[in-house]
Symmetry: C2
Subunit: 193 residues, 2 copies
């Protein structure tokens, strides 16, 4: 059932091929026709599974986001307490994108930034990594027996997020890796304060 006219699981194959192409030549190298060709299928075949090129791109983003989310969860799980989880997550946030800078631009570079769950939902309410951060932060507060106002809590979370995200952004910029290498200790030092 997987040969000849019908592919078997073309949808996933297209997503995988898309990821491969992005890893090799960045998002610019990504075209519907190339993805189709990489799956040995005609140029219009993707339209049986995706309404748009955009819909394919969003599916690829979702896949990359899952991979990203897994690393974050693993980082959080590998800590002894909530504070350690926060630190680990921050480090993972940066190292994940340092390892594949194209992913950073792919996920955060275009218009509709994160379409993982639903594009119509707000980023801060619906983006799983952000939810994980908020939950971990809450555990951290309990752990340290800290009482803070809602507003202050939100600022804290934004602070954590933006420092990790900003650091990842800088680390992903071309021509940065040589003059400042992002080994773990330095990342840790920047994030921690």
């Amino acid at each position: 059932m997987s040969d000849g006219y019908h592919h078997g699981n073309l949808r996933q194959a297209l997503i995988d091929a898309g990821i491969k192409i992005i890893n090799e030549s960045g998002e610019d190298g990504l075209s519907l026709r190339k993805v189709a060709a990489a799956c040995g299928v005609s140029h219009a075949a993707p339209y049986a599974h995706f309404k748009d090129k955009e819909e394919l791109v969003e599916a690829i983003k979702a896949s990359v986001n899952e991979q990203f989310m897994e690393e974050l969860e693993q980082a959080a799980a590998g800590a002894k307490n909530a504070e350690g989880a926060l630190i680990n997550m921050g480090r993972s946030y940066v190292t994940f994108f340092v390892r594949n800078p194209d992913y950073f631009r792919f996920l955060f570079g275009s218009q509709n930034i994160i379409a993982h769950p639903r594009p119509d939902k707000r980023f801060k309410e619906d983006y799983p990594p952000f939810t994980l951060l908020k939950d971990t932060y809450q555990k951290y507060l309990k752990e340290k027996k800290l009482k803070k106002k809602k507003e202050e809590q939100e600022l804290d979370v934004i602070r954590l997020w933006s420092s990790a995200h900003g650091l990842a952004a800088i680390a992903c910029m071309p021509g940065v890796e040589t003059s400042f290498d992002w080994e773990e200790k330095k990342i840790w030092a920047v994030l921690l304060r």
Copy 2:
């Protein structure tokens, strides 16, 4: 000399038209042919001034970067001391991109991030806003009579930059503006700690 076959100053006109288009429809709406049409000129005319579409895009980026840099300089100049300059710059960094989110994606979203001075040069050595930040930070150290190791200084600068940049990135994400509005007080609170 400005009518008929020769345009007068087509190069600048193309850049301006490009900026206008980006403001209206984002970078996706930007095509060489549209830019040319907006200047009332044939679709191949730009090739007399730019080798590539990319070269035009880089010129547009340079122009936007100049605008950005001006605002940062103004923000720094409007402070009484270096510490105030740092705070003002951080606030301006965010508000500039909050005012035009398309610029953020345009400047930092694509592959060759910042080609303002020369793409072959390193970001941290050659990007004017970064230089301004480093200088202001040095003044701040003198002002406060602080002595720090080179390494620690570099970390501080990265910290300042990445927190502002990360905050701008989050603020520019679609669907964020409603649930958390980036009025000056909040930006200030996030950046300052």
